[in-house]
């Protein structure tokens, strides 16, 4: 059902939800706040174009989604947090020279239903995400949190498919390692050493 638009109440009514939506996808409170603000400003300017077929909230989330894409759009042009050259010079932490695992991945035993409800797990996840090189993290966020397809991510980031796969794979390997060390392996880590 369509609701009458009340811009004066937007912030109190939808602010937290939009902020949380942005936080889940851009992993930075400053950026998330700015995106929410931009969303409301754009919405206000476009009030008369509001299609009353959708709810106010759905409409606002739609605008926010576009703002999130715009935020990532400049990403490929900005320098990476870890230079690629510097990174390549480092020894591969996961595989040896013959391409074998240096350490066998652990068995992650967890019930996904219960785990997904644990705020502590998501805090760990976001800590791990924050440790990734920026480009790898951006690619991962767009693909796995904003759920764009590969083509969509490439368009937003302005990179080739091959480059995208490299970034995503890098992100997955690093996240895997970090989650195993800081969450899944907490019990067995002591036993190993």
């Amino acid at each position: 059902m369509a609701t009458p638009l009340r811009p004066s109440e937007w912030v109190d009514e939808h602010g937290d939800l939009l902020y949380r939506y942005a936080m889940q996808r851009v992993r930075n409170s400053q950026v998330a706040e700015d995106l929410v603000q931009e969303t409301f400003v754009s919405a206000l300017a476009a009030v008369d174009r509001f299609a009353s077929a959708s709810s106010e909230r759905t409409w606002l989330v739609g605008i926010l989604r576009h703002k999130i894409m715009d935020h990532f759009r400049g990403s490929a042009r900005r320098p990476d947090t870890l230079g690629d050259e510097a990174n390549a010079a480092l020894e591969d932490p996961t595989f040896d020279k013959r391409g074998h695992w240096k350490r066998t991945p652990a068995r992650w035993s967890a019930n996904t239903d219960t785990l997904a409800e644990q705020g502590e797990f998501w805090a760990t996840f976001h800590d791990c995400l924050a440790k990734l090189p920026r480009r790898a993290a951006d690619a991962f966020c767009l693909r796995e949190l904003s759920r764009l397809d590969s083509k969509g991510v490439c368009e937003v980031l302005g990179i080739t498919a091959t480059n995208l796969w490299t970034q995503l794979h890098r992100a997955r390997l690093m996240l895997r390692q970090c989650l195993e060390e800081n969450w899944f392996g907490r019990g067995s880590a002591k036993a190993r050493k």
Binding site: P7, S8, W10, V11, D12, G15, D16, L17, Y19, R20, Y21, M23, Q24, R25, S29, E33, V36, Q37, F40, V41, L44, D92, T94, F95, R98, G99, H100, W101, T104, P105, A106, R107, W108, A110, T112, D113, L115, A116, E117, G119, F121, W122, A123, R143, E144, L145, R147, S150, A161, L164, W165, L168, H169, R172, L173, L175, R176, L179, E180
Partner: protein, 97 residues
């Protein structure tokens, strides 16, 4: 002949390359021979099998996470700060004379 060489190479891929293909299979449609290479490697390689299972689990978890914003509710980061709230309201209110 070239095809055969490619298949033999694919069936002997080391773990790091298999895992790269596993990762790519989440984002792209792989040709049949690469899919077969993954499958046959995973039959005998516990480490790569675990990697794949972990990634599937992570996607599953993320599915739930993004569909349910309430999952982040308990963290202090789940709410717009009062400062931001005031700032945004000021931006939205018509300029006072």
């Amino acid at each position: 002949m070239k095809k055969l060489i490619r298949i033999i190479r694919l069936l002997n891929l080391p773990c790091d390359e298999v895992v790269r293909l596993v990762s790519q299979s989440f984002d792209d449609d792989l040709p049949w021979d690469e899919r077969a290479a993954i499958r046959s490697h995973l039959v005998y390689c516990t480490a790569c099998r675990r990697f794949r299972r972990q990634m599937v689990m992570l996607r599953d978890l993320l599915d739930r996470y993004i569909e349910q914003p309430h999952l982040a509710d308990r963290s202090p980061e789940a709410f717009l700060s009062d400062d931001a709230r005031e700032r945004i309201k000021r931006t939205l209110s018509p300029p006072s004379e």
